[in-house]
Symmetry: C2
Subunit: 907 residues, 2 copies
Amino acid sequence: MHKPWVYLFSEVEKAEQTVNGDWEAIRGLFGGKGANLAEMVRIGLPVPPGFTVTTEACNAYLEMGREFPEGMWEQELAALKEVEALTGKKFGDPENPLLISCRSGAKFSMPGMMDTVLNIGLNDDTVVGLTRLTGDERFVYDAYRRLIQMFGSVVMGIDDDVFEDIIEAQTIKSGVNGDADLTASDWKAVTEEFKITFRKGAMRDFPTDPYDQLRMATEAVFKSWNGKRAIDYRNAANIPHDLGTAVNIVAMVFGNMGPDSATGVAMTRNGTTGEPEIEGDYLINAQGEDVVAGIRLTEEIQYMQSQLPDAYAELVAIAKKLETHYRDMQDIEFTIEKDKLWMLQTRDGKRTAQAAVRIAVDMAEEDLITKKEAVLRVTPEQVDFFLHPQFDADAIELARQDGSLLATGLNVSPGAACGMVAMDADLAEAWSKNDGKPVIMVRPETKPDDVHGMLASQGILTSRGGRTSHAALVARQFGKPAVVGVSELDIDMIKRQIRVGSEVIREGDWLSIDGNTGEVFTGSLKTNIPDIQDLYLIKLLSWADEFRRLGVWANADYPADATRAREYGAQGIGLCRSEHMFFEANRLPLFQKMIMTDRPYERREALAGLLPFQREDFAGLFRAMDGLPVIIRLIDPPLHEFLPDLVELMGELSDLKLRIKHAGTLVEIDELLEKIKIKEAIRTRALNLKEQNPMLGLRGVRLGIPIPELTTMQVRAIFEAACQVAAEGIQVLPEVMIPLTSHINELKVQRKVLEEEAKRVMAEQKAEIEYKFGTMIEIPRAALTADQIATSAEFVSFGTNDLTQTTFGISRDDAESGFLIEYMEEGILAENPFATIDRDGVGELMRIAVARGRQTQPDLECGICGEHGGEPKSIELCHKLGLNYVSCSPFRVPIARLAAAHAALKE
Amino acid sequence: MHKPWVYLFSEVEKAEQTVNGDWEAIRGLFGGKGANLAEMVRIGLPVPPGFTVTTEACNAYLEMGREFPEGMWEQELAALKEVEALTGKKFGDPENPLLISCRSGAKFSMPGMMDTVLNIGLNDDTVVGLTRLTGDERFVYDAYRRLIQMFGSVVMGIDDDVFEDIIEAQTIKSGVNGDADLTASDWKAVTEEFKITFRKGAMRDFPTDPYDQLRMATEAVFKSWNGKRAIDYRNAANIPHDLGTAVNIVAMVFGNMGPDSATGVAMTRNGTTGEPEIEGDYLINAQGEDVVAGIRLTEEIQYMQSQLPDAYAELVAIAKKLETHYRDMQDIEFTIEKDKLWMLQTRDGKRTAQAAVRIAVDMAEEDLITKKEAVLRVTPEQVDFFLHPQFDADAIELARQDGSLLATGLNVSPGAACGMVAMDADLAEAWSKNDGKPVIMVRPETKPDDVHGMLASQGILTSRGGRTSHAALVARQFGKPAVVGVSELDIDMIKRQIRVGSEVIREGDWLSIDGNTGEVFTGSLKTNIPDIQDLYLIKLLSWADEFRRLGVWANADYPADATRAREYGAQGIGLCRSEHMFFEANRLPLFQKMIMTDRPYERREALAGLLPFQREDFAGLFRAMDGLPVIIRLIDPPLHEFLPDLVELMGELSDLKLRIKHAGTLVEIDELLEKIKIKEAIRTRALNLKEQNPMLGLRGVRLGIPIPELTTMQVRAIFEAACQVAAEGIQVLPEVMIPLTSHINELKVQRKVLEEEAKRVMAEQKAEIEYKFGTMIEIPRAALTADQIATSAEFVSFGTNDLTQTTFGISRDDAESGFLIEYMEEGILAENPFATIDRDGVGELMRIAVARGRQTQPDLECGICGEHGGEPKSIELCHKLGLNYVSCSPFRVPIARLAAAHAALKE
């Protein structure tokens, strides 16, 4: 026999037996809403009687060509009988009619995407009995017309506007301001009009048989799983299409039955700040939709204590019980019908990143969850929140209430952005670059041609596309807040305006978008930079540190970066790019002089000028990192990067030459000629250094070998700085790293130069500094021959940016705004390998390198200093590969600490 | 007890016991010359009595600070006693003096690099006895003065010119033309002068005690191992420095004892052509050096049959015996002293590549060696000989005799070249490019700045540098014949001339260089293109085919190439670069049109125009390869390669714009404007397609995915051609290959496009063609994920050019004339990885790919189509990795066949 298609909420244990108590399976079978209702019943909370038609029934229905599977309807009727017994009412009974709601409920929440029919059971007969029972005819006819309207639009597909037009006509006819002022007889008249409209639109009468109503509503919910909106949503949210929806049939309770009735929603803790007190809104004598619709001004939940003290006390106790049961903050819906509290829904509450951190910490300290669980409750992406501008919590709350919330779409790239609407990329760029205006670029969708506009914008908003759309990928890539797939936006490229319902936004108007929530607001909302020094975050991260095994270091080129990194918890500097210092204004001319000559003597002279600068920079790093290791990478980029751009040079040359024409004196001419001579020498050198594929060219260790003076100067700067700082009583732990190694012999040659110079400096300074010598692994060959590399290197650090380029044969500069995006859109690549380490290719090379390197040197220090070092999935991979540490931007250190803990805890 | 320091030639078995009969060890101990003399004694050939002081004695002497090791001198004296017994003469006996020679003899021949002293044992007393015995006072004093001269220069380091000056003075004094006319008393006078000169130069008297002579000569030979010349030679020839030299002490025999005496050299077969008859020269009544010096005209060896019939018969028999014993052609030296034949030397004879092939084949057919040995006797490099121009054998023979042979250096890059001497790179380029003159670039050594001149030259000649010098590496790289390290060349960059001894070559004079032999000739020698269809070569290669397991395919883009490849033995086409056809004049505009549009319809239209051309080209290939597989690779290069160069375009645009100024009519202006419009569109597109690192950019499969029309057209052309040719009764075996794959999903997408189009064409043509679908593996990620790749690919082919670039992170375009050369000069890389597969990096990726690919698909067809496919060491690696075939340029197919056989036979 097939397992039941229908379960009473009280039968959840029966269902559990069929799936061995697997809560995920129960959620799959009952849907989220049904499972939580049943669970509330199980723990003795007041839930209106009801039952769930399972997702399996839905799938069977859809598979069988839209026929109920065998036995389902009979089971539904039997369950209904139980509900009648529990409520003491009877379905379709004119005397004491049972009304029920019929709601969808999938495993994963798809808000507003599927159908609901309320007040099922009303007809011309039962309204009479209900009126008598409630003594409130207006309420009853309002409920009746709602049933016909919902049934008409949801079940029969009649355009809802037709019904709304009738209501509007009635308000005119009755000379009142709006729905709220319509009387019982007005609603009676509307109901009659609705029945006629229904007949016209559905080609049949409104079904007066409550059982017909129930059957058709059940079917409608089933079908809504494959509605276009639902499919689009699932595509965008990556929800599988074969889950199906459950149908929850619940006895109606009414919060609009007088001053002892109410309805409300609440979070068991503050979802914005995480403060540990119940937070929510309620309305006396109202229905659920009134609270949500915002027509009446709601009361803060705490006020209920004075209005409905018993119900309030019960609600607070239930909230506590639910938190204890679910071990998480809950988002609940309730109705009070004549002083009796009914729970209509509970689910894990959504929360801001800030709240997530505080709630996790508080709950752990309340012993509700363990520290481990607390750490796992907060995602690294939530920590990321602390690093982007965010909308001010009050401002956003106000905006949500004051009608500024224009629409909601997919939250594909986090952060808050405000700007003026620009409807094409060129305009966005022009406004931003020329006029300095902040811009939100709005497009139906974006294409590769739009990238320059996206880069110039504060944020990106589109009406089409999902999480892997071009807009989403590019925005995440470049850290631009973005909301996509906002289907309510009707973008008119001719009129250069956007319609949302009746509202019109013109090009140049201000919009604010929240990439964390997907919300789009009119106007410019206040933004804040969050405080990374949030005490709860600090506590949570300190717990994370207890669990992680992976070290977290930072990439920092300057002492200030190092200091920040250390504040954020970095345990070392994994990468100091020693050449960044050469680009500064007072150093570049010296470095260019070094490039311009082939004579070792002149080179040494130019480099000698740079030495004091480098030494000071390194000394600053060592001071900041007292007692922690500092890895300094010797010069990496190709030399032509230090010379002026060729095109610019040609322009300057032409200019100088033209100026000779107008030169007044011989002295002037001579001066110009001299300048031309210098520029031409630079041009010649730049041409000379030009390469077909500079990424694969003369850089890294390939510079240090032909120009040993360069290595020598850098090594001298490192060791002079180290000796100097050590003399101040500071513990200095320098590690010198060679970039772009592909062959062990390159390392050997450089190691010799380094050791000789280090020894010389230490002898001069009469000091002994312990140091390590190592190399980047950023070339496949280095990874493959790590056993050889480890004979000379005491540590290795994966440069996964370059390693990804060579392993994939992809130039990041060219591809990331080009074909890579197409690859991701078409699903050829699931992820951008420059954002998340490609596990099978780059990850495999890393695995090989670690294994072979440690074959030679079992305790070989292995780290990563590519950008991936701050990305959670990549950090998990690094953990699995047994690296010693990840090194990332100082700002990402907190994220990495948490991600490393997650990796360890998930094992 | 230490093994003996000294062995009589007859004691070789005793030595063999100490090294377990290992012939290589014997050669190491005795040196090549000593080992062969001993071996000749063992097989009963007439060798003058003598003994060898071992290389170990030499090494011990050098290590112990130039003292004979214990017991060595006593052993030498004991051996000398045995020689006295065997000859019946006594060392230092005035009545019947024994004379001996003292020669160096290292394991590997180092011609002319170490020392020799002849006629040891002569002094004022023994000359008297010898004169009486020989009755030839002139001979005896000539011998005596030679001893003093050699001893003076070799042992005591006196400048040889001082001795030569004395001889010249004597000829003047005696009023004769030259040495040959000096009389006994003249030589007597010279001898007396020599003694005085010796005393002055050496600060001591000439040692009259024969034992002193022997001891000092032995020491001199030992020391000469560490002479500068010898060290330089070993560095250049990659001979280890710790081998040491043996000293061979042999009783003197004299070919200048009258008309029944003679001396000569011979090869047991013709070293130039390989013809199986003895070849050589001799002189009646002469000493060895007379033959070599070329002062007297030598006779062809065959003429000896009439002059000295008995000795000739014996010599021919010995030659035969030696060949049978050594199982190889021998290069021998002999002396006939009063009708008695003495063998002075035998060694494996040097031979031309042509001779090597013929001798190997002949010997196998004579059952002297096996077919396997014959195949192993010829090196792939010798087969390479058949592919380069070579000097005409007669011309070179003549040149060697007529004094055109200027000098000999290291043969670092094969082939023959004639040209006018240009002494710097700019001049070389100017003469070659502007004046069309053939040029030999001559430099003391070359530097990276010289590469343009080297490329413009026919050949390269330097006076310095060894096998890994810049000149050698670049020359081999670009297939330019080169001779380097010719120390005799005295290059005067001021006078723009080269001195060799007394000869002066001026800039602009003709030189001919032989990169096979290292010879440098004055003038322009005749060159020939060798006949690859040499019958002996064909036979040898057919034997090679019996032994090899690796298939040999060819890379061919056109039917003519395919036909040649098949003639040379190719078993398939491993790579047809399908885009090469697009570059032809009548096709390029169509292809450019395809590039210029983004509209699929216009693209298809442009591509439709190309279809017939591609179809015809493919049909031709299929016809040529009837019954053999043909792998066609879909388009690979980035699209900008098909557009005109940007700089050129800008020039053309400027030109067009200027022309408007002078346009006569409106029509003319309109025409110009139209042209400008078109050019500007091309310019925009070219700019658009420009990439930072095109090697890692939009090419290969990355083109086929966004432009599926391109794939479709190429697939259609392949299958239309296949159907058409199959209908002609020809067996067509097409394999379609996707380039630059890095991810399995790329393959899947392309496979779908391909299969659909192939099916469509076959349905249209009502034909069924069996085909394979596969991919290049030229990106590390593809190699690492070959297990996934093999789920879609039915074959893979390693593109080791690209794979080397990405595995090493080296751009070939930039590095190969840049830092790679420096890396090889400095020994950081032993070999150019673009010439020979880098075993540890690229080879390791190949190993991984083969293993993982065959994990998924045990019979996965694996091949290689990079340039390495024709390079012997790389072929050996491919064999070891278990590839199915190598594919190379048609010209290299014969080399690959032999190399593949070697790989199999060496296992």
